[in-house]
Symmetry: C2
Amino acid sequence: MQSYTEENYLKTIYHLAEKTINVQTNAIAEQMQTKPASVTDMIKKLADKGLVDYIKYQGVTLTEIGKNTAIDIVRKHRLWEVFLVDKLNFKWDEVHDVAEELEHIKSIELIERLDEFLGFPKADPHGDPIPDKNGRFAKTQFIKLIELKIGDQGTITGVTQHSSAFLKHLEKLGLTLGKKIQISDVTDFDGSVEILLSDKQVNISREVAKHILISSNGKN
Amino acid sequence: MQSYTEENYLKTIYHLAEKTINVQTNAIAEQMQTKPASVTDMIKKLADKGLVDYIKYQGVTLTEIGKNTAIDIVRKHRLWEVFLVDKLNFKWDEVHDVAEELEHIKSIELIERLDEFLGFPKADPHGDPIPDKNGRFAKTQFIKLIELKIGDQGTITGVTQHSSAFLKHLEKLGLTLGKKIQISDVTDFDGSVEILLSDKQVNISREVAKHILISSNGKN
DNA sequence: AAAAATTTTTAGATTTACCTAAAAATAAAA
DNA sequence: TTTTATTTTTAGGTAAATCTAAAAATTTTT
């Protein structure tokens, strides 16, 4: 059994490991709003518990057990986000902090039943995949919107940027999850993209287009 | 803002204060599965924060602020219990421990929306009243089943004993919340009560009858 | 490859919520 | 009203998670 804090470390390491193989002390410290010295202390503890592999000065990697634990927390976080948006009508940019707390409630039964109550969703309100109870992620084929060509169609199924500012921006443009879109033009000058969205036309910058995920086979 | 632990102390003091005016150190310690010395420490802290009134050796009482905080936690606890039973199909004897964790999630918005989602329930699955967001309890007129006379009718609306063993026992007898009952006989010998429950007849001991609450005007 | 910069770790403190053991206050019994 | 028992508090200590400041290791630059 892990403490609230240990769980947060595992989750942070898990997310950082999606980008780099060896996760560095400073990166963890920055992500967790704490000091490198505190991170070193905790890493030692997690290593003693067999949750991470750790060589001094060389960063950490999650062990099999550590990774499974982290995935379980991610699962809880994303299921709660679905609950907050689908059942309690929160907006997708309002759910992160509360889910951050709810993810630590430790009852296997609770999560199983919540999963069922929500209809076994495969993705959270930001389009991030929800692992099943065995920690397996559904295979998904997302393409970044920026990679589409003029005339291509698809459905918005995710984002790779979760800041409130970004999500609010998309919300205002009407670019929310599940919306069907078609590319009507790509500006040579600045790479901004013209999108056909049901009836209206919207224009987004290249930067925004980079962070929107599209699938051509419906919601997944 | 209170810590998880401080919230638990306030809640415990609140519940103990329903029975005695001045809450004693030992009573808190027993309830919280901790030592009297630890309780003294925490009481001092709560007194410094203005959440309890405390005179050495004389026990504690909640201040207005302390009481409101405690009621808010009770509100959360009971709303979550309703969620677990009504939406996730938990049995009424399975929800307490999980609700004990959920009650500490601190988001006012979350609880408002949960309350609405559940249809503003007035009582939890054990029949305990749920205060509204201003901390006010709905007036309820419960009678203990033991006080009913032969021929009296009513609806089961609560219990005053929350142990899993007791709740499981009631479950087995079919004496669950909302069930309509009629007293068909009271045994002189041991005070056990014969109950007419839809079609079948059940017999409960005097001890059990003491802990069942009845109302004659439907669910409240 | 030596010097400089960066990253990481160690050492020693602090805070929160506990604990044990002993002392002090209060309540109950003789 | 003493003595005894119970309750409560104090004193001093522990473990978890954090911190600052300084030392050590690694990486980058010259």
